[in-house]
């Protein structure tokens, strides 16, 4: 089992505690985290990725307790094993497209295999845009660049936060195809958090998150 969570609860000041169902993901799995906005999808992803220590519960990564590690060890594990795609993409505006993709390797302190960047640029049709700044790219090109950045280091899991919700049907389908093909190529698990019901059909494993905001849940064990 690559990634496992148990009894996760997150309490934040000024909002009711969020409890999340247990989860276990293996490499090659495709999991959909479906829930309306406010259900804590991004918070759950943050906890799973080692970015937010839960108030209660555990996260295991390759059978190791993720939050028992030092914070810099967590940063390293995340950098090398997780690929992230954000809804708003978050390409750094001051860097070129190629620099933005390479950022994944630079920040993780790792080197991609030789030719990996060129291969990705070619596969995603970005070769001639490599030295442009994000401002000079179309939305679709930015989306593809963000995917390239997420899979650069052949992560064991690709986490995407609302990758399709801002897109029309055709583009949503194209992005899902791309994510699935890249996950398959790199042998990574795919974990997508969304409220976008259109992509349900792509997944066998669907985890529904309730809108926990209005409720006053009792603390989970």
């Amino acid at each position: 089992m690559f990634l496992k969570s148990q009894n996760i609860t997150v309490r934040r000041e000024g909002s009711p505690p969020l409890s999340f169902p247990d989860l276990s993901i293996n490499t090659g799995d495709k999991v959909l985290l479906l829930g309306p906005s406010g259900s804590g999808k991004t918070t759950f992803l943050s906890v799973l990725a080692g970015l937010l220590r839960p108030s209660a519960g555990e996260v295991f990564i390759e059978d190791g307790d993720f939050y028992a590690m030092s914070s810099s060890a967590r940063d390293k594990v995340r950098g090398q094993n997780f690929g992230f795609i954000f809804q708003t993409l978050h390409l750094l505006p001051s860097l070129t497209l190629a620099q933005n993709i390479m950022l994944a390797a630079d920040m993780a302190g790792a080197k991609p295999e030789a030719g990996r960047l060129d291969h990705l640029l070619k596969t995603l049709g970005l070769t001639d845009k490599a030295h442009r700044k994000p401002d000079a790219l179309s939305q679709g090109e930015q989306q593809r660049a963000a995917i390239a950045r997420a899979v650069l280091l052949r992560p064991k899991i690709i986490m995407a936060d609302e990758p399709t919700s801002a897109l029309d049907d055709d583009n949503a389908k194209a992005v899902m195809n791309l994510l699935e093909s890249q996950a398959k190529e790199t042998g990574a698990a795919l974990l997508i958090a969304t409220h976008d019901g259109r992509i349900k059909e792509n997944f066998k494993t669907i985890i529904n998150l309730e809108n926990q905001m209005p409720k006053n849940n009792k603390e989970a064990a």
Binding site: S46, A49, L51, D75, K76, R78, G79, F84, H90
Partner: protein, 445 residues
């Protein structure tokens, strides 16, 4: 993509902010650098010109005036002393060497110094042409005077370049020209003491001068006097004041002339031991009509008295540096506020908090380092211009030194970098504490 290149990318994204901060750091460092370089150059210039001069002895008065007039040739002498005093000083057991100086005349603003050839050795002077003076009215010209061997000229009384009180009864002949020494010697004319004494003895008794004062003078001198006979009427008119002044001496005319012929302005002394440097001035000051001054001590007092103006500029410069650090702080903080989502992305991609701090610190160091470098270059320029534009420093101070890097430059660049680290301290902690999960959950700010 390391901390530095991320920092450069960040600077590029807000060039105006970065430029303003760089300019502020540069302004502060430039002020500090200019002040310290200027005073260092001036005091090393003073020290270089007084090298080998342990002590200067002259008539009683202001010791600073004595040093300025007789060592740096930057002030007028207060008065003369008797040549016998020179002999007495020379005989003192503590004195290793005594060099007489007789001042009072100049040519086109270049001072004529009656002295001994030892004075040239004091500055390790080398001859570009000709040889050292031996007979009266032979003169050795400094490198900046523009004179060449064989030139003849009359000196005028006083030190002003446009004096019309010309001693044109006597002509000096240039017998040697010196190579540049980088000292005050470059703008001096040197001659035996006797030249000055004869000239002044004659000058105070014009009518006798031509007949009497010339027993030792060269023939060309006679020639010249004859040549200028047509001017004599004017000379006499001008000479009236002097005649009148000399009137009180009329009773002992001969004796008075002998006195004038046996006066010098001051004596440069080299002592035998450092202890003498302490004791001899006290001894001289207590037991005679003479005054002894130690140049290094007087100049230290002098530059100290200039300290208030200097302190003001130092305070101003330090204020600028502090202000620039605060500006940089504000810029980094507002930059972080704009980029906090970027920072969160970097964390998600695996960057450690320390790495984000390093990026912020690198940005601060790049800006403050560039500012400090520009400030040091600017400071050199300011100090160079200042030295060039102050007339009385010409010859005393070598401005070329200011066009080369100095040891203290490293200190100023370090100061700029320290300001940068100070400015980055809080912002770098802020960057390290970026609340990633919260930012991601809220979406792009």
């Amino acid at each position: 993509m390391n901390a530095a290149s991320l920092a450069i990318a960040s600077i590029r994204s807000r060039p105006l902010h970065a430029a303003l901060c760089t300019a502020a750091v540069a302004a502060g460092i430039a002020l500090l650098c200019a002040v310290f370089l200027f005073s260092q150059t001036v005091s090393s210039g003073f020290a270089r010109n007084a090298a080998g001069i342990d002590m200067i002895v002259g008539t009683k008065g202001s010791p600073l005036q004595l040093v300025l007039s007789s060592v740096y040739h930057a002030d007028i002498p207060a008065g003369n002393i008797d040549a016998h005093d020179f002999e007495e000083l020379q005989r003192m057991p503590q004195v290793r060497q005594a060099i007489p100086l007789a001042l009072g005349d100049s040519y086109k603003g270049f001072r004529m110094v009656g002295t001994s050839p030892d004075y040239l050795k004091l500055y390790n002077a080398e001859f570009a042409d000709g040889k050292t003076f031996a007979a009266p009215f032979e003169t050795v010209a400094g490198a900046n005077t523009g004179l060449k061997v064989g030139d003849k000229f009359a000196v005028s009384h006083g030190f002003s370049a446009n004096s019309d009180d010309v001693h044109d009864a006597y002509l000096y002949t240039v017998i040697g020209v010196l190579k540049p020494t980088g000292t005050v010697l470059d703008k001096l004319l040197t001659t035996p003491v006797e030249s000055v004494q004869q000239l002044h003895a004659a000058g105070h008794d014009h009518h006798e001068g031509d007949r009497h004062g010339h027993d030792e003078a060269e023939e060309e001198h006679e020639e010249h006097a004859a040549h200028h006979h047509e001017d004599e009427e004017m000379d006499e008119d001008q000479g009236h004041e002097e005649d009148h002044h000399a009137g009180e001496h009329e009773g002992h005319d001969h004796e008075g002339e002998a006195d004038l012929a046996h006066q010098i302005t001051s004596v440069i002394l080299k002592v035998r031991s450092p202890v003498d440097l302490m004791n001899l001035p006290r001894k001289i000051n207590e037991s005679s009509d003479l005054m002894a001054a130690v140049p290094s001590y007087e100049m230290a007092r002098f530059t100290k008295s200039l300290g208030i103006g200097r302190q003001l500029v130092v305070v101003l410069g330090a204020g600028f540096v502090i202000l620039s650090a605060l500006m940089l702080w504000a810029t980094l903080s507002s930059g972080l506020a704009l980029r906090r989502y970027d920072l969160a992305v970097l964390r998600v991609l695996g960057a450690t908090p320390r790495r984000l701090s390093a990026t912020v610190i690198a940005e601060a160091l790049l800006i403050s380092g560039a500012g400090a470098l520009a400030g040091v270059i600017l400071g050199h320029g300011i100090a160079y211009t200042a030295v060039l534009s102050i007339e009385s420093l010409r010859g005393l101070v070598l401005p070329e030194v200011l066009l080369m890097p100095q040891a203290m430059d490293a200190g100023f660049i370090a100061l700029g970098l320290i300001a940068g680290v100070f400015a980055a301290f809080v912002p770098s902690l802020t960057a390290a504490r970026t609340d990633i999960a919260g930012l991601l959950a809220r979406g792009r700010a």
